[in-house]
């Protein structure tokens, strides 16, 4: 079992520094060779030009240290990426130490977001392991004065097969360290049949600490002289502190001082919201002090009347007056002119908040010429740049320590909470820990965008869709960074709205502008969940209205052939859309669920499918409406995410995606009234509980294609599988989420 290193950075640098024993490998690999990043945030785009520096260290004591440069939030990445290095290195997993890297551009892209880690780092990690192994073999060949080919690396040793001479990696480390980094062309990689760790369900290196409560999340940081802060923030976007009175707060034992935070900049980006912080000797005193604050806000009138339910209702009922055509194919007017039948429906989904179990928390220590932070960040490089810009420092003056993340889901890509700790530490000249309350997280989030989608289909005599006229209105994430035009970005629309996989000869897709009145942020699967819900609901409606099996309707609507772009199969990109892979995913849930399965009275099955993050997912769910309440009984989910690095973690991601998708579809709604979020904690923004958790059956489809996403693609089809099942069970067609606004949830 690999173990997590408890070394701090300085000790590690000492260990790997010049003059000390051991082989420290810092390979530079051009990222361009491994394909462009799929996520299109500005931050990710900026990092594409960077090269990768990933650390492997082999010590004379035979321990191998592997830097984990991505953020760990339960997906297992700081175990899975070392699995690759260890395998190509032929290292012994029991002799591996895993060290969490700090935020530093020398590691390449660290933005742990967009289900990208394995997609982007599988090959660089293999290069790292194979390079180190070759150097160890070269060192052995030189030591024994024998041909390289006769030196075999296996189980943490190099052996000269003719003579049987053998040295451990630790014994070879110093000699290997003197060799130049081998040319990439000389590297040889294992065949999949030879993999020892890749593709195996290795246990997360963090498990042992987690079950003993011996973990360090962002919220657990404690450093000398640290004080604790709790911040009352403007409930409305763009609000500023007009005046405040902290006199009562200062009477509370433990409260040290109150600090006003200027903020409320628009577009907000990751800058702090305006507010007043109470600084205290412990978290509770800070929270109590905050309750005694009196603040008068200066609100931005543009947002102070925002009513999200009214905005969604208006978009549902209003005719399209202003829209941008974002995709066309064929002749949509002709399709409707020749249609045997038409079908029309409008769907809506509300704002959501990530609700990470660990609320945002960060500790900062700012001095005259340095800043060090400890925080649960998914995107440490963006945090580092933000801090450097705020303080007028160079990047080298800013150190970002990445803690464990108690859930991320995209929330912790936004380092506004780190910026708050930096502002406060600078203001009071002491290290400060900022801890968000649940209410803070719920009321001042980076909200998943609401969405209103209208679909109108022209059907031929066989009920196939020959024309699809669609529109979407949804605030864009770009509103966080640029003056808001109300229009969505291409990549947002491409998450299942304009990127349709079905054989529809004529289509027109339009985007209706809608201005954001809160901070819009990406949440697990981003816009895919919204678009998958509407399209899968619409297809189900058409199928059922024509007495067609909904699952079969999807299969029949997919192209019969793989897209023919003139390339041979060997030349085709593994990430190119493949109807065959989607059909295989559908077949998998068809098999495990026994679709079309018989059910008892008041029960029904629903189906949905979606491709996102280059992975193919199908879901079949069984619900009961007995006793006039919804119970989800079974959810069958299949995924083809290419080759699988760690099947246990992919399975866990599928289980988690089902639960996450059920929370959203059944219970999830953040609504705004007079500009502010109406919900505050788990009583009015509930999450699925174990009593509501269904039987989950996961099928991992074996594939030789390149690795694709696993953290997010499971979620998008879940919601529609449930609303479709509700109709099958004799319930209403629910076009507006969440389901709890229509049915009692059991």
């Amino acid at each position: 079992m690999a173990r997590l290193s408890k070394l701090n950075r300085r000790d590690f640098l000492k260990m790997t520094g010049l003059g000390t024993a051991g082989l420290a490998l810092q390979t530079t690999v051009s990222q361009a060779a491994y394909g462009a990043l799929a996520l299109s945030t500005q931050q990710a785009a900026a990092s594409q030009a960077l090269s990768l520096n990933i650390f492997v260290h082999i010590a004379v004591n035979n321990r191998v240290t592997i830097m984990a440069h991505r953020s760990e939030m339960g997906q297992g990445i700081r175990t899975s990426l070392p699995q690759i290095v260890a395998d190509e290195l032929d290292a012994d997993w029991d002799k591996i130490d895993i060290l969490q890297a700090q935020g530093d551009e020398k590691y390449g892209d660290q933005n742990t977001d967009g289900s990208n880690s394995v997609r982007n780092f599988f090959q660089p990690m293999r290069v790292m392991g194979a390079s180190a192994k070759l150097m160890l073999r070269q060192a052995a060949a030189a030591t024994w004065q024998v041909p390289l080919e006769s030196c075999i690396a296996k189980d943490h040793r190099v052996t000269h097969s003719p003579s049987g001479k053998s040295l451990s990696y630790g014994e070879l480390a110093q000699a290997a360290a003197k060799l130049p980094l081998p040319d990439a062309k000389l590297l040889s990689f294992k065949n999949p049949q030879e993999f020892k760790y890749i593709g195996k369900p290795m246990a997360m290196a963090d498990f042992a600490d987690i079950v003993r409560g011996n973990t360090s999340f962002g919220i657990d940081t404690k450093i000398p002289d640290m004080v604790y802060a709790s911040i009352e923030r403007s409930p409305i976007l763009g609000g500023k502190v007009k005046s405040f009175d902290a006199s009562k707060a200062l009477l509370i034992p433990g409260v040290i001082q109150a600090v006003k935070i200027d903020g409320g900049i628009e577009p907000a980006g990751f800058t702090p919201l305006a507010g007043v912080a109470i600084i205290a000797t412990n978290t509770w005193a800070a929270m109590e002090g905050r309750k005694a604050l009196s603040i008068t806000w200066a609100n931005n009138p543009a947002h102070a009347n925002f009513d999200s339910r009214a905005a969604i209702s208006k978009l549902i009922s209003a005719p399209v007056t202003e829209a941008k055509t974002v995709a066309t194919r064929g002749d949509i007017a002709q399709a409707f002119a020749t249609a045997a039948q038409t079908y029309e429906a409008t769907y809506s989904l509300p704002h959501l908040e990530h609700a990470t179990m660990e609320p945002p928390a960060a500790t900062a220590k700012v001095t005259a010429n340095s800043c060090e932070v400890w925080a649960c960040v998914q995107d440490p490089m963006t945090a580092r740049k933000l801090i450097a810009d705020m303080l007028g420092f160079k990047l080298e003056q800013v150190t970002v320590n990445i803690t464990l993340l108690g859930g991320g889901f995209g929330r912790k890509s936004k380092p506004d909470f780190v910026a708050e700790a930096v502002v406060l530490s600078k203001a009071i000249g002491k290290p400060v820990k900022v801890t968000w309350t649940r209410e803070d997280a719920t009321r001042n989030g980076y909200y998943h965008a609401f969405s209103v989608q209208h679909y109108k289909a022209a059907l031929d005599a066989k009920h196939q869709i020959i024309g699809l006229d669609s529109s979407v209105a949804s605030p864009s994430i770009i509103s966080l960074f640029k003056p808001d035009t109300g229009y969505m970005q291409d990549w947002e629309l491409g998450q299942g709205f304009t990127s349709l996989v079905y054989k529809i000869p004529h289509l027109r897709a339009r985007n209706i502008p809608v201005i954001a009145h809160t901070r819009i942020g990406w949440m697990r699967s981003v816009y895919n969940g919204n678009h998958a819900f509407a399209l899968n609901s619409f297809m189900d409606e058409i199928a059922r209205s024509n007495k067609i099996d909904p699952l079969q309707y999807h299969v029949d609507s997919l192209p019969a052939e793989e897209p023919n772009d003139g390339k041979s199969s060997a030349e085709k990109n593994d990430f190119a859309y493949s109807p065959l892979r989607l059909k295989n995913a559908i077949k998998a849930v068809q098999k495990t669920s026994g679709w079309p399965a018989k059910v008892n009275a008041s029960e029904g099955w629903g189906f949905a499918t979606h491709r996102s993050f280059d992975s193919y997912v199908a879901v079949a769910s069984k619900v009961s409406l007995a006793n006039k309440e919804l119970r989800v009984l079974e959810v069958h989910i299949s995924i083809d995410c290419g080759q699988i690095l760690n099947p246990d973690r992919v399975q866990a991601q599928m289980e988690g995606s089902v639960i996450f998708g059920l929370s959203a579809a059944l219970l999830g709604e953040i609504s705004f009234k007079e500009g502010a979020a109406e919900q505050s904690s788990f009583h009015d923004y509930p999450m699925l509980r174990i009593t509501q958790s269904p039987k989950i059956v996961v099928t991992l489809i074996s594939s030789d294609k390149k690795h694709s996403g696993a953290g997010e693609p499971g979620m998008p089809p879940v919601g529609a599988s449930i609303t479709n099942a509700i109709v099958a069970a004799g319930g209403p067609r629910i076009r507006d989420l969440p389901i709890k606004n229509h049915l009692k949830i059991g």
């Binding site: 939030m73 339960g74 997906q75 297992g76 369900p201 997360m204 963090d206 498990f207 042992a208 600490d209 987690i210 079950v211 003993r212 409560g213 011996n214 973990t215 360090s216 999340f217 919220i219 657990d220 404690k222 604790y228 034992p253 433990g254 412990n282 978290t283 509770w284 929270m287 609700a355 990470t356 179990m357 660990e358 609320p359 464990l404 993340l405 108690g406 859930g407 991320g408 889901f409 309350t437 649940r438 246990d648 866990a652 289980e655 988690g656 995606s657 089902v658 639960i659 996450f660 904690s681 788990f682 009583h683 999450m687 699925l688 509980r689 174990i690 009593t691 958790s693 039987k695 989950i696």
Partner: protein, 162 residues
């Protein structure tokens, strides 16, 4: 000065008796295995044992602990090998791990009071603990694997926090 017995060790505490035990543990005693999730007793992340019963430490004032026996995740077993901790490893239960201290403390209290719970009793006992990562199926499987197996008493070793 008032003393509080945590994981078998007496700790002198100089704090407001209204301060929730959660913050006494985390901020004053640096025992951060017990987690803050909501502060309202809604999520279970802060679950500890007070005289053997599971309680939400975010709602439990320090004064309640005077003269009582407190057990936290750090003291669930002497060497981290409580049958449930072993079952959590065997079933690869955690994802992010943040809620798991509370999950384990709720599960341990359930099995201590009812060594052979039914499926419904397991779900009911665990219904106060939210896991946002969605580890519920594995939590249930792990508890079932231990149900009926003899459970050690919580550790009361002399070193306190382990």
């Amino acid at each position: 000065m008032n003393k509080v017995k945590i994981n078998g060790v007496e700790h002198p505490i100089d704090a407001d008796p209204n301060m929730p035990l959660l913050w006494v543990l985390r901020d004053l005693l640096n025992m951060t295995g017990t987690k803050f999730g909501c502060g309202r007793g809604l999520c279970g992340a802060c679950t500890i044992h007070l005289n053997g019963q599971p309680v939400r430490s975010c709602l439990m004032p320090l004064a309640v602990a005077f003269g009582a026996e407190i057990t936290t995740i750090e003291g669930l077993s002497a060497s981290g090998d409580h049958p449930l901790q072993q079952a959590w490893l065997a079933h690869k239960v955690p994802q992010c791990g943040y809620c798991q201290s509370g999950q384990l403390m709720s599960a341990a209290a359930l099995l201590k009071n009812n060594p052979t719970p039914s499926d419904a009793e397991i779900k009911d006992a665990m219904s106060g603990n939210i896991c946002r990562c969605g580890t519920y199926p594995r939590i249930e499987a792990a508890i079932k694997s231990v149900a009926g197996v003899q459970i050690h008493q919580p550790a009361t070793n002399s070193k306190g926090a382990i």
